[in-house]
Symmetry: C2
Subunit: 232 residues, 2 copies
DNA sequence: GCATATTTGTCCGTATGTATA
DNA sequence: CTATACATACGGACAAATATG
């Protein structure tokens, strides 16, 4: 391996005092974070031995963590070969947008039943994105955009929708990481997100739903076109 | 391996010849099947030792299988206490119907893009249900009803929607198992399923979507009302 | 194509911590 | 409060499959 270790030992802190989570889950949390922030790019192989040594957990525990992330589709498990950070295909990206569109537009349609806190979450995400854009932190603009869409799905007031959406967006980050230019991909949507928020706050959910549908048309074709032009 | 136990040794067959799936996954498959068919009713405790001995796998392998099913929400994992077959609350049932409604109505709306095979799957499920009803196999009527709704979601032509739907319906079976009277719950919907199929085949997706939405209103309140009246 | 080294798949033993009768 | 049972987590072992020279 390399000398600069991509792992960070976040597990070392307090390992057994009123700790209600298992080590496997904490290991999965660390790995998930590393994956979605791009420190472990798609295609990376995660060796049981080196990863276990770096995270200071046994192989059995590490394998439990791997299973969790395989189930979340962030890792793929090739029998007798090991686990790898998932490499999305263009078809995967199309499918991710398909289900996102279904969940998010349905959530907007039912936005009338959402409480004020959930509506406010839209505004918070948009404001965070605008601030990040002013300071030209384009990666943070992307993160804020994700948070905005998480908040859109949150309008459905459904824990299962929230959870599904979290996984879909984590998976979508795998696509973003194989493409460069975070600015060009996220900046154009800042204004649209602001518009959508205002429409929803005003109760114009039908109009908001139509605008969101148009957004998906544009974003999907843009992303998929760029994705297909990649090497491989 | 014991002679009389609720487990079945489906693993014993060919354990290592061109077998591309891990034992943990096969264990999870067996457990999942036992759970959704009711052999392991909600609340059942799954001891690592007894289950491992019955299935003839080590505790490590069994724990990997448990993690998979916990992630699918069929089991709950209480730290340092063990794993149990999930007991759904009334809120869970409400939430399951919420996300089902979102996915299925969206799928119907986009039914125009589905190929003939997916549309035919609707008819097959309905026919299977009608046949089972004629022969008064009410449990099979319920299964066919599930298959119908899986086919409805399949109109979205999305692998991820299919997978999400599979999990939601498996989870919903946990609710059906704590209620008796499968006939009263599933029989009334046979005619509606037939109507919906004909509307979709005819391309009247807007009308089909409205009817489906009405169905959810009725089914959800019926199920939740009955569910709340249960002991516990 | 072959022999070897590496890695994974699976199981076991055990020490420690936790919950419950 | 003690005792028992069980889950958690580790490390070692060996077979099987894969990767490497």
């Amino acid at each position: 391996m390399t000398t600069t270790d991509p792992w960070v030992d976040l597990l070392a802190g307090d390992r057994s005092l009123l700790d209600r989570t298992s080590t496997a889950e904490r290991v999965a949390d660390v790995l998930r974070q590393r994956i979605i922030e791009g420190a472990l790019p798609p295609g990376t192989r995660l060796s049981e031995e080196s990863a276990g040594r770096a995270l200071a957990v046994s192989r059995n525990t590490l394998r439990e963590a791997f299973r969790l992330l395989v189930h979340e589709r962030l890792l793929v498990h090739e029998f007798h070969r090991g686990v790898f950070v998932r490499v999305l295909t263009a078809d995967d990206v199309v499918d991710l947008y398909r289900i996102r569109r279904m969940l998010e537009t349905s959530a907007v349609r039912r936005a009338g039943t959402a409480d004020a806190e959930r509506v406010a979450a839209l505004d918070h995400a948009v404001s965070a994105g605008e601030l990040a854009a002013e300071q030209e932190r384009w990666r943070d603009v992307g993160t804020a955009n994700m948070r905005f869409h998480q908040a859109v799905a949150g309008l459905a007031c459904s824990p299962r929708v929230d959870e599904t959406m979290r996984q879909l967006l984590a998976e979508l980050r795998l696509a973003f990481h194989v493409m460069s230019r975070p600015r060009e991909f996220h900046e154009p949507y800042l204004g649209l997100n602001r518009d959508l928020t205002e429409l929803i706050v005003a109760g114009s959910t039908a109009e908001a739903e139509r605008r969101l549908d148009e957004y998906f048309d544009a974003a999907e074709t843009q992303l998929v076109d760029a994705y297909r032009q990649l090497p491989r």
